[in-house]
Symmetry: C2
Subunit: 148 residues, 2 copies
Amino acid sequence: MHDDDAQSLTVGLLAASRALVDGISAGVRARGFDDLRPAHGFTFARLAPGGATITQLAEHLDVTRQAAAQLVDELTAKGYVERRPHPDDGRARLIMLTEKGWACTRAADAAMADTVRPWAAALGERRMLALRDDLIRIAPHGPLRPTW
Amino acid sequence: MHDDDAQSLTVGLLAASRALVDGISAGVRARGFDDLRPAHGFTFARLAPGGATITQLAEHLDVTRQAAAQLVDELTAKGYVERRPHPDDGRARLIMLTEKGWACTRAADAAMADTVRPWAAALGERRMLALRDDLIRIAPHGPLRPTW
DNA sequence: CAGATTAGGCAAGTGGCTTGAGCATATAGG
DNA sequence: CCTATATGCTCAAGCCACTTGCCTAATCTG
């Protein structure tokens, strides 16, 4: 692995990553959810399993609680999430996806599949699965966050 | 390629991309260039071949000319680039890297190699080169820009 | 040489984030 | 118990990278 290889790998990885984000973003917008930014996707990903508190969301996104609260305010106003009283802790609130939030999540999954499909066609099934396995092998398994 | 595969590919790609950016950023900082953000790296990449005008830089980064000018102001103040009169066009200015800018570019290349090295060790030379080739195959070949 | 176009700069406004302070609820110690 | 500390969240103000809107200077077009 020479330096030139490292550079071309970097270029390929960043370009592919950006293409993926752009594709998902465009696909979600095309499906009628045109008031969202990519960062919201990471929020949905954290909320989907069963909701989360503001603090948990802030840790996941690596922003302050105030920033997370503001994001939830916006998503609440747009009807994607709702604040509920937390069942175990009177101080906390549990943020959960609304039906509209779930619909958007499904749209994102579909957009993801649409974006990846031409890649599978170009590389073939075998190499595509190898690509997925290798990426997962080298990537850290932490929370998924915006790149920068 | 099922939907689940597309999702895991997305997760791997975004996580790897972020790990790469973080690694490069940390490596550049560790080498003494601690007043730069990842976005500046994309600027350097465009300027390295032989300089560029504000307008060309703005197009490359996909921001307004004012934003590009502001970025150049900052990099000029920090000593990484300099504005020269454009040889062919009296209106334009050619932005070029200073020696410090070149030193930073070399540091970024080294940081890139450092970040990628453990991946090559984990996957082996063969799969690593295949990964690079596949990524370049599926990624668009346009200008390299921040992901979002 | 007059009009349109292009390169760049100046000024003000915006959005997403931060830091700082404060209130309500929960947990721990005497 | 009851006080002291920690935790979850919110309100308010400020910051910074970026935007839109307008301007001047230089170049191209007919």
